[in-house]
């Protein structure tokens, strides 16, 4: 009873104890997750099949364009960084260009099935060591499913983005079919509130023309740069606010959830593993 009343700052040791006591359970739990995924596979969203080809062409064109711009800026910033290093007499390692994220596939080993936004336990493999850090983004397909909350001694923990602990998220709403839609490509900038029950809520002005099925993508500078533009969910419902006639409250539901898959992809910001 006394233990359960201690302040959170005195309970840091419990994370290490949990790491240790989970060691014998994790292999069985991992097998359970694989069997679960085989018995009850995740239902893949239809993922906008109507304009997939156009969307891919547009994405490829945009990618090439921005890659050119990126390389141009990279050369320019390297040149400026060299000049600055010389002026400030800094070492060679200073002012390096940002590294692209490392893509690491990680298996799920445990969770609390009755809590749709609860913490998820991930396998800590040798491939992940040093590559994955706390705060890194976990994705499935093009959708964000959460962030790494902790890298422990024997396991990692994933905080789903719909968990209340994630806090507010800045995002933008875009049409689901931009080429077939006469609405602007960016409908509204919103602040998402995780409900803790597997969804987000937000408010948006009525005149923005947001519709059910529109995509919500991350646009939050507090998150790692690699996650900007990745999907958080789709607009599932829109309700008029009686107390504010010019605003609507919207509910956003993730298209994919980590708990419905056997593994997730983590965009690691750590260093490349040494051979």
């Amino acid at each position: 009873m006394l233990l359960s009343l201690l302040p959170a700052t005195w309970l840091g040791w419990t994370s290490d104890v949990a790491d240790l006591v989970r060691v014998p359970v994790t292999p069985f739990s991992h097998i359970g997750m694989m069997i679960k995924n085989w018995v009850r596979p995740s239902i893949e969203p239809f993922d906008l099949p109507t304009d997939e080809q156009e969307r891919n062409d547009l994405a490829v064109a945009e990618r090439d364009h921005y890659r050119q711009l990126y390389h141009g800026q990279m050369l320019r910033s390297t040149e400026l960084a060299d000049q600055l290093r010389m002026l400030q007499a800094l070492p060679e390692s200073a002012l390096r260009n940002p590294q692209p994220p490392l893509v690491v596939s990680v298996d799920l080993t445990g969770m609390k099935p009755s809590d749709p936004s609860g913490f998820i336990e991930l396998k800590l493999s040798r491939a992940s060591l040093g590559r994955i850090r706390e705060g890194d983004i976990a994705i499935v397909g093009r959708d964000i499913v959460g962030r790494i909350a902790r890298v422990g001694m024997t396991r990692m923990e994933l905080l789903p983005s719909t968990n209340k602990e994630s806090g507010y998220l800045r995002a933008v709403i875009v049409p689901a079919n931009p080429l077939l839609d006469d609405r602007p490509p960016l409908l509204a900038e919103i602040l998402l509130t995780p409900t803790g029950k597997g969804a987000f809520t937000s408010e948006v002005p009525v005149n923005k023309g947001v519709q059910k099925g529109d995509l919500v993508v991350l646009d939050d500078p507090a998150w790692p740069q690699a996650g900007i533009g990745l999907g958080l969910g789709v607009v599932a419902s829109i309700e008029q606010l009686d107390e504010a006639p010019l605003r609507q409250t919207i509910t956003i539901v993730p298209r994919r959830r980590a708990r419905e898959h056997a593994n997730v992809i983590v965009l690691g910001t750590g260093s490349e593993a040494t051979p």
């Binding site: 009343l5 302040p7 419990t14 994370s15 969770m111 602990e165």
Partner: protein, 189 residues
Amino acid sequence: MNALVVIVATILALAFDASFAEVFTLRSTGSITPQAMPCLIVFIALFAPETAAILVAILLGALVDLSPGHGQLGAGMHIIGPSALGFVATTFLILKVRNIVFRRRILTIAFFAFGSVIVIAAVHAFVLVTRGFMPWNPAAVGGGMGEFVKLFGTAIYTGLLAVPIGWCFLSTIGLWKFHSPTGRRATWR
């Protein structure tokens, strides 16, 4: 009591609750999921010697508190106590009534599994509310009527799961060696 069998059953029950139980989750009704651990604690409380049953309840409850998604405070920290105390309360109640029930009936295990989920949740809520009264902790926030309905759903579902699990336990009761090595008569009938 055979400690090895208890350890193996505990590991399997923890692994079931943290992974395979998702197969049975009713996603459309608020993720109602059955639990294996209450079935195990009910079985042990029905047949084990009193002291051993209480000790096992504390240990198993602490292990559940340290499982992913249970009582987490962020940064991997866990609150140890809600499930541990809930398991002890359940065990204590079962110990009080186990002499007047048909212990070797699957229905008894199923009924007690249903009740144990309610008792564990009640103790869990009590601990969290008490914790919230402490000036150094944030106040506990409840889930309202929805959570209450979900709790009853979980209890019923766990009671149903206790039927096959209870059958497995009763089929292997010889392996558990519940009879006391020092007493003249067995502690179970």
